[in-house]
Symmetry: C2
């Protein structure tokens, strides 16, 4: 059961002018489900991408990087579920490029103007024949008002589609930002990938768009974790179609850029949090905030150590205020000169530990009260400086083991 | 159920001359179980220690470091289960020192000649009154032939005691090496600690003993992982009583030192492997060997990334040759310039992946055959150099979640 997550209402997913979406059933792995999505982008659209840091990155990720670097301007996006085309060597690259070529031909652009995305099983050949056979259907389905179908088509074992949208005003013009994502809890059978697409009709210079993509990812998709397994295919794409008629944003140091960035971060965080809320077996949504660090990096290290500790995660699942486990994770996070006597720990408003020991005023029933909630903020204060960072995660339940121990067939 | 582990036979746990062990029931947390162990060391004994790298190290670890640095010669060891005396601030240090003082007084040594060890719940006050009240009973129980009782007394939720022993010949003299350990899977309620004690009656200079302790730990206790949670209390002690009558080993670059080191590593590996075999919920014992690295450190990084991946661990639990999960873990291990096209993967003798992709000759039924075994070796070849490293771990099962999600009371 996802944690406080509901399916999006299609009527509040606003179309982004200049971006049409088409869906098809290619039967990549299973028949009778939407598993192919194309996005067709009008000329003048700019695209920026952030991809997995996994050195075993999948073939489509390698092709995306190559095509973005090529600089011809991206005009089409091709997404399939059911097969990740990862761990497939040079043959995998050839298959990804072949599918780009086939789509390019149908929409009258160059192959290097197509970005491919795949999510699903690892180490199996991508069935390009079935994908290509469904391209005509997907292209002819293309329309601007199709975001909910796109959110459904990129799902693997997500239990709910993930999409959100908003309108805002920039320089007197109404601008739309709409996005979709799919789950990161690596799933039977390795339906591994986090995919996120956020599009706006705002006009924004390509170098500003690129400069926005990284901080947006770093405050959203790069700050969530289900199980610490960085997928081979994780990708986030930021798309600007240049249709809103706003005065084009040509510098990141403008009010307009900041307004747009805030909106895009808001959308991306909602999509990222939705992934955690729908994490495999999740029963709780947990924010881990680390304050008082010397720099953001050490705060992030500590936050991830807590977020990845199976002991901490099972304690959340059990609603057990077994808070020594959190302190232990702080201790092994890799901050070498950490002074334990300066550390404070809070669970929401409850002050659990102070100066590295149990807070004398702490009562177990207060910790218990917070641990029973479905949304919890853990706050660690390191007492070393003024930097902060936050990551979001979920608990580790029996269902996580059941889902991931299930045989692939 | 532990994986291919049986309880040790007391008659094959050879006494170490000069080291007497006494046991008592102090009722630290639960009544009616052996939870207190003292080891009394004859004058002339040397002791070397390796302790947790957790910056949130427990009070007894801090006191051990202080007393070892003091250099008066260690004459007594005091171990309690039921309470880890961790996350207890300055009061915890005071309580650990108080218990040392009380034992020192009873055996006629200085407080700084006593090393304290605790394992059990975190963030609760050590009940020193109950410990001190049982010291007389423990001291009067002290005898050389008491290793099996010691192995039992240091257990927390270990399902079996862990002990092993051997005799060897050094310079024509018979030397004994005997050791005990307790589990590292951090356990309800945070029975966190890995403890290991290996004693020999060999004569060995203190600086050589100290030089031995680190490589022994690095090839045994420092290469196992259940869930990646480094405890606040992990400790390994190497003890030499100087009673065997061998010509004293005064250099690490001698045949005698190497013979002794091999024996001690063998004992320590058996004890470390026993911890993994008895890991919480373990159903499989898995060796992860990484070859072809530029240095040991990067091999270790890759091995631990695999060993800590919940996805890999659940696949082992399911006997599912879902081997893309292993490649994905290799990819995010943090070897930044890794070239995926040079990587090979083996499961025992089965060549699964080559040049970063599926080995064309690999058949799923071969992977399946190996995955069904209770003991499995994963071998990754990085193709970058000649360094190797191995870590040992277990799978992640439903029982792990059950054990760790159980409420503490």
């Amino acid at each position: 059961m996802p944690v406080n997550l509901v399916a999006p209402d299609g009527q509040f997913l606003f179309p982004v002018a200049g971006l049409r979406i088409g869906i098809a059933q290619a039967g990549v792995r299973k028949v009778g489900r939407k598993d192919l999505c194309v996005m067709l982008l009008d000329e003048g659209t700019h695209v920026a991408g952030v991809f997995t840091q996994n050195r075993f990155c999948a073939a489509p990720v390698q092709v995306c990087r190559e095509h973005l670097a090529d600089g011809q301007g991206i005009r089409a996006i091709l997404i399939n579920t059911g097969n990740a085309n990862a761990g497939t060597g040079s043959d995998g690259i050839a298959r990804a490029k072949f599918s780009c070529r086939e789509l390019a031909q149908r929409v009258g652009v160059n192959p290097a103007q197509v970005l491919p995305f795949s999510t699903g099983v690892i180490m199996e050949s991508l069935p390009v024949d079935r994908i290509v056979a469904s391209l005509d259907a997907a292209v002819s389905d293309a329309k601007e008002d199709n975001w909910l179908n796109a959110a459904q088509a990129i799902m693997t074992t997500d239990t709910l589609p993930k999409a959100t949208s908003r309108k805002l005003s920039i320089g007197g013009r109404t601008v739309t930002v709409t996005g979709i994502s799919k789950g990161a809890g690596m799933i039977r059978p390795n339906m591994a990938t986090m995919l996120g697409y956020v599009a706006t009709d705002a006009c924004i210079a390509p170098e500003v768009l690129q400069a926005l993509a990284r901080p947006v990812a770093d405050q959203s998709f790069n700050r969530i974790t289900i199980d610490g397994d960085t997928s081979t295919n994780d990708s986030f794409l930021l798309i600007a179609t240049n249709k809103a008629g706003n005065a084009c944003i040509t510098s990141i140091d403008t009010d307009e850029a900041r307004i747009l960035q805030d909106a895009v971060i808001g959308i991306a965080q909602t999509l990222a949090h939705a992934i955690v809320r729908d994490g495999e077996g999740a029963t709780k949504f947990i924010a881990i905030r680390v304050d008082g660090g010397r720099d953001t990096m050490e705060c992030q290290k500590v936050a991830y150590a807590i977020a990845h500790s199976p002991l901490v995660k099972t304690a959340f699942f059990a609603s057990d205020p077994n808070l020594g486990r959190i302190l232990a994770a702080v201790g092994y996070a890799g901050v070498d000169d950490l002074d334990q006597t300066r550390i404070d720990l809070f669970l929401d408003d409850v002050h659990v530990a102070t100066a590295g020991g149990r807070n004398p005023a702490y009562r177990e029933e207060d910790g218990q009260r917070v641990m029973k909630q479905s949304e919890i903020t853990v706050r660690v204060v390191l007492g070393r400086g003024t930097a902060s960072d936050t990551v979001w995660t979920c608990d580790l339940s029996h269902d996580y083991v059941t889902i991931n121990a299930d045989y692939r067939s």
